[in-house]
């Protein structure tokens, strides 16, 4: 097992957002988290890399054991250097070009020399077919291009786990496919991924396991076919039925 979280608790203003989450992530798997909006999926993801700080809980990651309620600065930095995140709103650095966006993490976060970092960033852009846009700033790129660069920025760091926070939610429907294809390619290459998404096609076809998350807890977790075709919990059935009614 690569990463395990036990009894993760998080409150916002007295509201229990994460209520004792237990989660295991295996090397090379794609864990997709689905569930209603506002259920705490994004908060769970943000607690995994300390963008939010949990009230309590334990994380076992590689050979480290971290008290999530009181992580040291070194532990926070260590986890961030071994994970990466793709955001819903891309969050590309507005003051950096496409190539710089990919290279900066290598240079300032991972101590890679600027020349090597820029070569890697250029190669990443070539792989995406966006090399001709390397000197463009984020505002000059489409949403789809920004998100694909966002994914490249995360994966160029060779993280143990990439966290995806609804990576296609802000995209035009016709751009969703290209981003999902990039993610599928990553999954095929064995990248460990935790993906919060409403893209059920991706959950059913690319996920190794699907977790249904509601009311601050993982209600049910299993293989995509089990979750989608034979859900055990009433809350999961309710959610999937509501989805089916919408299509």
């Amino acid at each position: 097992m690569l990463l395990e979280v036990k009894d993760l608790q998080k409150q916002f203003n007295g509201h229990q957002v994460l209520d004792g989450v237990d989660l295991q992530i295996h090397q090379g798997e794609v864990l997709v988290i689905i569930g209603p909006s506002g259920s705490g999926k994004t908060t769970l993801l943000r607690n995994l890399n300390f963008l939010e700080h949990a009230d309590s809980g334990t994380m076992h990651f590689a050979d480290q054991t971290i008290d999530l309620g009181k992580p040291s600065k070194q532990q926070v930095q260590w986890v961030r250097r071994h994970t990466a995140m793709v955001f819903q709103n891309y969050n590309l650095f507005k003051n950096k070009t496409a190539q710089q966006n990919i290279a900066e993490g290598l240079i300032y976060g991972h101590g890679v020399d600027a020349k090597t970092a820029n070569q890697k960033a250029a190669q990443a852009l070539k792989n995406l077919g966006l090399y001709d846009r390397r000197h463009y700033f984020p505002t000059q790129l489409s949403g789809g291009q920004q998100q694909r660069i966002g994914i490249a920025r995360a994966t160029v760091l060779k993280p143990e786990v990439v966290l995806f926070d609804e990576p296609t939610s802000a995209l035009d429907p016709e751009l969703v496919g290209t981003v999902l294809k990039d993610m599928q390619r990553l999954a095929e290459n064995g990248q460990t991924m935790v993906v919060v998404t409403h893209q059920m096609w991706f959950a059913r076809n690319v996920a190794s396991r699907v977790a249904f998350f509601a009311d601050g807890q993982i209600q049910e977790i299993g293989k995509p076919a089990d979750i989608f075709d034979h859900p055990q919990k009433q809350r999961t059935k309710q959610f999937l039925n509501a989805l089916a009614d919408n299509y």
Partner: protein, 233 residues
């Protein structure tokens, strides 16, 4: 009637006082900027006690006329030095140059205005930018210096320009504490020749030219940065 010859002859004499105007403006801006950065850090980090005290101080300075602040510093600073001398500090309350008073008063005034502008510029940077920096492994300091400050700077320049131009104009008041800058020189020359309109028109023209030059320089810097970062188009 307006004596054009007197105005022309006085112009160069009044212009000769411009360096002092610029010295006070630049000195106050540098002092104000350094203090403002410390104030912003203390207030954004919400350091207990200090943050609240600074908030009151900033509000107090922004809510009172610069002339009053100048007088309070002019009469208050020497007394503070007397007190410090009593505590065993090696101070010289009697030998306090007027320029130090001017730097102190205008520096504090610039600090108050700049700290609020910097905070506004900081809050205008999307928090997701800093978060993204952390997620690629940057330390908080690198995230601030590499990602937040360059974006904050672009946001800050329009307000900074206003504060800087206000400082140039507000230095006209330092004549009240015995410093002879543009306005002081105009006062002296007009009282010698009793030709007030001519000398004050000279001063007016010099202030307009100064403000125009600096407004233009700062606008060019802002345009260059916005173009460089392609932000907020």
């Amino acid at each position: 009637m307006f004596d054009i010859n007197f105005a022309r002859d006085s112009f160069s004499q009044i212009l000769a006082a411009t360096p002092l105007t610029l010295l006070i403006t630049f000195g106050a801006t540098i002092i104000g900027l350094l203090l403002a950065i410390l104030v912003v850090i203390a207030r954004e980090k919400k350091i207990p006690g200090l943050s609240q005290v600074l908030a009151v101080l900033v509000s107090f300075i922004r809510g009172t006329p610069i002339l009053v602040q100048l007088y309070v510093v002019y009469y208050g600073l020497p007394q503070l030095l007397v007190l410090m001398k009593g505590w065993g500090w090696n101070t010289n309350p009697d030998g306090l140059p007027a320029i130090v008073i001017a730097f102190s008063a205008y520096g504090l005034n610039a600090m108050a205005n700049l700290s609020e502008s910097i905070r506004a510029a900081y809050h205008a940077v999307d928090p997701g930018q800093y978060e993204a920096a952390l997620t690629v492994g940057m330390s908080p300091v690198k995230g601030i210096t590499q990602i937040v400050i360059p974006q904050l700077t672009v946001n800050l320049i329009p307000n900074f320009t206003n504060i800087f131009l206000d400082l140039i104009k507000d230095t006209a008041l330092v004549y009240n504490i015995g410093l002879v800058e543009i306005m002081g020189q105009a006062n002296i020359i007009s009282s010698i020749g009793f030709k007030y309109l001519e000398t004050y028109t000279d001063a007016l023209v010099i202030y307009i030219i100064l403000c125009w030059i600096f407004a233009r320089i700062l606008r060019l810097i802002e345009a260059r940065l916005r173009q460089r970062y392609v932000i907020a188009q």
